[in-house]
Symmetry: D2
Subunit: 388 residues, 4 copies
């Protein structure tokens, strides 16, 4: 097995984009709990995200969600971010919170509503021009709740047409990233329910259309790392939305539900060429901190990704290949588990210290007084959430 020092250099390549909405309130259909100090606008969200990056060195960019993060002057927002040491990243579209989209957006049978959804995405692309964002991420709520409610085929055809209109607006350096999801909010048929559907639409669009893999958007038992390997092989893995789950799209902290799965995913990323600045694969979080503190929740998340990345980099791939050639199932598994079971936390603390970062970012945050500061300062106004 390689030593930590062999892989330490590679860790500098890690960059995980934070979602602005992770700092706002979120919850379930039953209740959204509120928390003192939650940001009221995009500026405050970015400040919180910048804090995460300051303490971890892992999160240099922030994804925005339109309209939640719409501001009058995106240039100013970008400068604000830069001043805090981060930059604006992926622009996320939102076609799930307008009454018009009750029966779909890019797939809607009513041409006027479909055009409205397309126009929204065009606006997002225009914002990308200002923010310098590379990726337009599209996640659609589109689907139906009852058999017969919609024409499954017709909806696909309209989706293809809508995506074509969106794609046509992209600049040469911009990409469209299409996310799939097994179910929710639609409970019978979802219009982009699996990687195959997202992939086939992307291929039809062109080279700058890629698949977004949200780790929580699969059927029970799905081997997610297989999909990672497959999409890398096909050259269409555009980005990750990291989170974890025990049941459905639980949106828990990445690595919290099944750390071994995260390890396996990171291993396929590394093996398949998806790691590093030239890979074209964007790493993002997409989580809901319903009951835990939000900023530490984000810190914990990026640390989890880093820890599993380190373990994945430690796998002795030559030994693995040899065991496979020998049909040595237990030997191969042992090589694999050896890396997983290696406790890299102390080495990572040293690595952080060597780079001027706090050895323990969780503790550093607690000690920073930032939580008290924002709780005291952010009084009045409306806390950000999924509705704003």
């Amino acid at each position: 097995m390689p030593n930590f020092s062999d892989i330490a250099g590679l860790l500098a390549d890690q960059a995980i984009e934070l979602p602005s909405w992770a700092f706002g309130n979120s919850g379930t259909r039953f209740k959204v709990f509120s928390t003192a100090g939650v940001p009221r606008d995009a500026y405050e969200k970015i400040a919180d995200a910048a804090k995460v990056h300051e303490l971890t060195g892992l999160a240099p960019s922030v994804a925005l969600h339109i309209p939640w993060d719409r501001v009058d002057d995106f240039d100013k927002l970008g400068t604000h971010a830069a001043n805090l040491g981060v930059r604006l990243g992926t622009i996320n579209t939102n076609t799930f919170q307008d009454e018009d989209y009750k029966f779909g957006s890019l797939t809607h049978v009513d041409e006027k509503i479909r055009a409205k959804a397309i126009a929204h995405m065009h606006e997002c692309i225009d914002i990308m021009g200002v923010t310098g964002s590379r990726d337009l991420k599209i996640w659609l709520p589109d689907g139906t709740n009852y058999p017969g409610q919609g024409d499954l085929r017709g909806r696909q055809d309209r989706l293809a047409d809508s995506l074509q209109q969106v794609y046509a607006r992209l600049g040469d350096e911009q990409r469209l990233v299409l996310e799939y999801k097994f179910f929710e909010p639609a409970f019978y048929a979802t219009d982009v329910p699996d990687w195959g559907t997202s992939y086939t639409h992307c291929v039809a669009l062109g080279e700058r259309a890629l698949v977004c893999l949200d780790t929580g958007h699969h059927a029970p038992g799905t081997n997610v790392e297989f999909i990672v390997a497959q999409l890398l092989r096909l050259g269409r893995l555009g980005s990750f939305d990291f989170n974890s789950r025990f049941y459905a799209d639980d949106d828990l902290i990445v690595g919290a539900a099944d750390p071994f799965q995260l390890f396996r995913i990171m291993f396929e990323v590394v093996r398949g060429g998806g790691y590093g600045p030239d890979s074209g694969v964007a790493f993002m979080l997409d989580q809901c901190h319903n009951v835990e503190e939000k900023i530490p929740g984000q810190i914990r998340s990026v640390l989890n990704v880093q820890e599993m990345t380190a373990r994945a980099l430690l796998v002795d791939r030559d030994a693995l290949a040899e065991a496979e050639r020998d049909g040595d199932v237990l030997g191969a598994n042992e090589v694999f588990m050896d890396a997983f079971y290696t406790d890299v936390r102390s080495d990572l603390a040293d690595w952080r210290t060597s780079r001027g970062l706090p050895a323990n970012p969780m503790r550093a945050f607690r000690d920073s007084g930032y939580a008290d500061h924002i709780a005291a300062e952010r009084v009045g106004g409306t806390q950000a959430g999924w509705g704003a």
Copy 2:
């Protein structure tokens, strides 16, 4: 196979309680769509429920949800219901929408919050005294999102103690009905996740504690009719919350996702002695009409239950027993399917007409002008939803 005329008399025994909240707005964490004419208070909800009963003869009572349906004068509300031809039914507790319950209610580690939750249930029992309700239904959001967050064992012990305090307040003719749910809103461990947990708590409490089976609250693949049969055998099936699902707790219209499952459930109900006024089993709906119209949604639901009840009553149980004795798998299955595939809709239309009900309640509602009427009348105020 029996003829419809053989079973027609039994259909008069069917009574399905409607949930007041089905007439309010509901949705997912992504969006709650609003609809014209939605009730603003308990009085209007009951009016809508009464309409369903007027057109179907199947829904003589309405379940209330506290605090959503709290009124100053429950006597007056009961009279309002009686005037409309229905009565007040099960009282549902709510410990999922107060900030205090972020980490649990009846299981909370903080004794003050646990006492508050118990006090809420005591208040609900007091309301039952006024409304003449038999059943206190408890569904708990209690659970944890992350391993380590809570002591699973301690939570069970506190739950047992809390339930004991609630049970002690019940009158001799009142019952406690404890609902279980696989997951949501908790995403790691739920404190009452399965029928076994609900059952063992009920047994510890006493004879008037019974299990509520929500048809959508199970793991993928669970054989729900087996649980129905088992709970009837054990004498602890208190009530049903009917709905249907493709994925998680989708809360779709009962019978919409898998009509054959509803048939199998109703067959076990009938075979196990759970049908009829003396059975002690309460039939209720618990659904969310997110994208479909609410009052017709409820009409469709009670009709679905009635249609599958009729089919279940038509099963030739002697032939079934004979086929089982003979090891005739295909013969037994054919007897079973014969009843399921029988189209009882025309017979049921005649049955309705014979009782002074509209042959087609869905059409009768459309023709009644009620939807337009309430849309025009219910202007201003705040539409009811899960938050109010």
Copy 3:
């Protein structure tokens, strides 16, 4: 809604291929139960299959499985079939019962074993030349049981290469049909686990490579009819393996576990142009009759498909389209369910009679004495099963 007479003509287009192995013994890893009269060889299997066709008019061809059905003279076997009124159909490869394939076949890391698997498929193609079969169906057991055991990416690359070598051998009128399966016999990673993987390999191969959709080979909750619609849209649905399931790949009689799902699948088939002689979509059964009688099990299966096809053809698609345009969720669902709930069994009995077929094929089989006949005649030898 159309009348039965409107769709009766279309029913004549239905042809469902029977698997020869359905007439042999099958079971679980725990036990294979034996039955009197089970065929000892391919000739007897075809005789049983022909009996199903004689009584139903629905099953004009028989799929073979190599090596289980390997005979010295396939010409003679074809003549035998023709004499009994049926023909030889799809050739199924088998790379799961040789010790060499313990760690894979088309994906094996050992080039010698991979070549052996390819050679087997070439032999199957040669047999197709003799039998006049159109389709080579490939289902692979390939996969791994433990993380690390195999290189997921390497296995895909070898699979692509192997399939290319197989495809190259096909005649101009022959097709390669690649089946996917969620899991089993591999329990960690399966090399062709989903429709997306099968589809992408088929696209890489060429136009005569198509996807085989086995209705039991999906993750829990998967919307199978969506995949049907998608593959038809993409022009790559080659064939169905029909069966049904409650849990995993249970291989129960098609329509037995969820008749409404079968209806929805057949509706998408019809709507998507997958029905009828020109569609290019082959309908096959792939089931295990573990505890039920085998020949009647096949009769019941083809009747189930026919009944749901008739209901699917009865859907009023204009009314459905109108309801969708109006956003009338309940109206659309009612149109859809109206066809599903229509009891077509009596009309189908008349349809059969009008074509010289027995009104009730299940009863006709019981009355035929065929079961007693084969039980008496087929004494000695080894009953066919998955091992022979």
Copy 4:
């Protein structure tokens, strides 16, 4: 967090029973691969099991399966075991491999067959008298494949009666352990499908009837550690069948699929008083080594259990309780994960050495030449498998 030295003493309490059948061939319905050196009889199985104990010190007893391990003289078998340093443990019944049990055993509608199954269990109890075994373990294949095939309620009633007859035969120091399983080999309804069913039957039987929890026998997503905690609380956790799974009852090496789950299970065991010689909880493996070597597979398994037990013992439970009281979700989770992420392997190697065991049992086995020895010696005869 405690130090390893604080918990080292507790590790000596660990005893994991090995299943004799793990050393025989096993597989899927598709294929059972054979391996050189596989035992031909119970004596050889015990020799292999003893090797595992010799190298790990963790597996002092061997479970037997009747009739697979039936010998003429169980006294002699016991002496054989004792001479090799192990003892005979749990007796497992088998009612799934006789043609008579096609439609059930303890639940069979035919009284003759039911009596035969009961008689088999009586024989097993008699064997326990000779072998000095404490536990009779009952796992039933009983269930149905098609709706209507069997009377779910009648089957429960017969099951209760049969178990009563079995229980009545037990000696005062003997226990009946009833295993539940979600599905397989039955594919519609299983007669003991969940812990609730097993538990209620055990309570009806008496104090010496306990539940066996097989970690692979649950629906997707089930929180297994919750059931562990609940059964310990109810005083009815009799034993574990350890294995792991990604999909169904995959029977993979325990800890291989989800090591974090095994950690959580062991933590609940420890917290709930299920660990240690006085707990009354038996730890057993029940796995299938389909593609991996069998003896090393068992060694790996007991080591996995030991490693996760050590980690579970390391959890700082006081810190956990404090974090729960404070509502500190992330803090609690960090305490929990801290133990899980601690690499105990080196400490365990030292612990082994200090007890005269090889530091690395996997390597010690490879170096022992035992595999070559048995491959050379065990020639001729029939390799043991599920059929013999």
